[in-house]
């Protein structure tokens, strides 16, 4: 990791990212809904062109690269949404992109990443070569820039731009910004970005069962890792082994606690989003909604729920719709 990547992300950086992103991507809708008698605000970043918020951080990072860096290409590591974000930004900027993806990534994510013109290098998620090691090797071989999925100040700032959009959208409707943002959390890039963007809001990360390293890290005050024998989860986008210091520095200061949701709660949230919001959400993209619907997160009239991704196989989604657990 270069010294430049080690700078701390800042609120000013979030504002600059938001300005750049506003020139390229229209605001995603902030949908009003009612849960348990309270108005909530659902930020549908699942409607970004790549079907996930990851386009924000990738664009902020890649568009800030020098001409020399652009010429040498970029390398990303991702189960699929960051992959598509990097591939999308790279194609737009004429940069060669290589993405290290797990062999068990959803087929739709692998196909979409390739369709955006990126080279995909597969690795075996459990027990295989460490994915960060694969990426570092590729960067060294090619002189390429690593675009980490969350442990990168640009990526954190870019994801935070969603928070500034939320504030502007609530103000346009006569409300002060959010009191609270409940968000799916993998490595903590989005969570840290939202915390920087909205210093007055409580920020609550939500993780799937067995992958609650951020919850435990917040509780213990030290970065914890996911257990080596962690159970499988449908939330592939939230399957990160641990957060990194650059993220945890922000989370520890701003998040009092995290929440954990079960697989059944996530499926119920996907069905609710289908019926009430008319949106397709992938499991990981529905985790924060699941926590609110299950009554685990406090709500008031200014609570905002991040809906972060929608890249799911038709067969998997059909099965969720047909379940009634």
């Amino acid at each position: 990791m270069t010294a430049q990547q080690m700078r701390s992300p800042s609120r000013e950086g979030v504002a600059r990212a938001a300005d750049k992103i506003a020139q390229l991507l229209p605001q995603t809708p902030l949908l009003e809904a009612e849960i348990n008698g309270h108005t909530v605000w659902c930020k549908a970043d699942s409607l970004q062109p790549i079907g996930a918020f990851k386009i924000r951080g990738a664009w902020h990072r890649l568009s800030d690269l020098s001409q020399a860096e652009r010429a040498a290409g970029v390398v990303g590591v991702s189960s699929g949404n960051h992959a598509q974000g990097v591939a999308w930004a790279a194609r737009r900027l004429g940069i060669r992109a290589t993405i290290v993806m797990p062999v068990d990534a959803p087929q739709v994510k692998l196909a979409a990443t390739r369709a955006l013109g990126a080279e995909v290098v597969l690795y075996d998620r459990p027990g295989g070569e460490d994915r960060d090691a694969v990426a570092s090797r590729l960067c060294a071989e090619r002189g390429a820039t690593l675009v980490h999925a969350y442990a990168d100040p640009w990526v954190i700032e870019g994801q935070g731009s969603a928070g500034l959009e939320i504030v502007a959208q609530m103000q346009a409707r006569g409300l002060d910004g959010p009191t609270r943002i409940v968000t799916p959390c993998g490595g903590g890039g989005l969570t840290a970005g939202l915390a920087l963007a909205c210093p007055d809001a409580e920020v609550i990360p939500v993780e799937p069962e067995g992958w609650d390293d951020v919850c435990r890290s917040l509780a213990s005050g030290e970065i914890q890792r996911v257990a080596a024998d962690a159970p499988p989860t449908a939330c592939d986008a939230l399957q990160t082994p641990a957060t990194w210091p650059i993220n945890f520095a922000v989370l520890q200061q701003r998040c009092k606690f995290g929440l954990v949701v079960s697989a059944a709660e996530v499926r119920a949230a996907q069905r609710w989003a289908f019926s009430v919001l008319h949106l397709v959400l992938e499991p990981g993209g529905a985790a924060a909604l699941a926590a609110v619907l299950a009554g685990k997160a406090p709500v008031d009239g200014r609570t905002t729920i991040m809906l972060t991704g929608s890249n799911t196989d038709p067969a998997s989604f059909a099965k969720v719709l047909q379940d009634d657990d």
Copy 2:
């Protein structure tokens, strides 16, 4: 029908409707996508709070009623989306709403209409009492105002507000307005409204097989009715027996032709919207998209596709996702 309802809809009326609607409902997203190598613009009015564009016309109509008219209540006729639009606007304005709905309307639409506080009166679609007769009887009994689903100048103007939003959204992205708007068409309320809103755009109505009365009316120059033995269609929202003179006067002047889509083309469009746009669309809401994907409608970089509704049963949608016809 009162003399007041017989006034012609106007472009000024569309602009006034758009102003009223902008105070209440944020713009629905205009999503950029690529079809057959061309950029297209998808207006996701399926994301309105009731899951359909019908909220527009209903709001324009009901919010213009006098205090005396409001006190006497309103009656609507609808398979479900106009029903929810009227019920939504009525609840917001404290007006009693009664909706005449077919017994075979989708369960989600019946339930949602009742959940919005409207009284639902059922009728038997094929062979039973004429639905407009049921509604007229209720209006006479109660002194209530009929809010027709499409043959009403306010309703036409209200639906047209979507067209002004499209123009504004394209201009915000550095484009002139749409060259062409392809839209699902039932009775022709939305189609006429869009034609009034966007005088420089070609407007193409799309109907499901067997329910192509507007296509045939445009071809023959006279209002044609759907055959008495019309086949069943999944596009319940487009199942209207005929357009009315108030709509046809606009359509005849502005639409050169209409297009017809098959059930399989509609299902393919629902799957495409799921995978590419990450949106839930009901069959009728996907009809215009189906025509474009099938190569039936011409496209250029400024063609806009109306996505009009998303109220579909989970089981039906799961079946569409699992089909591969």
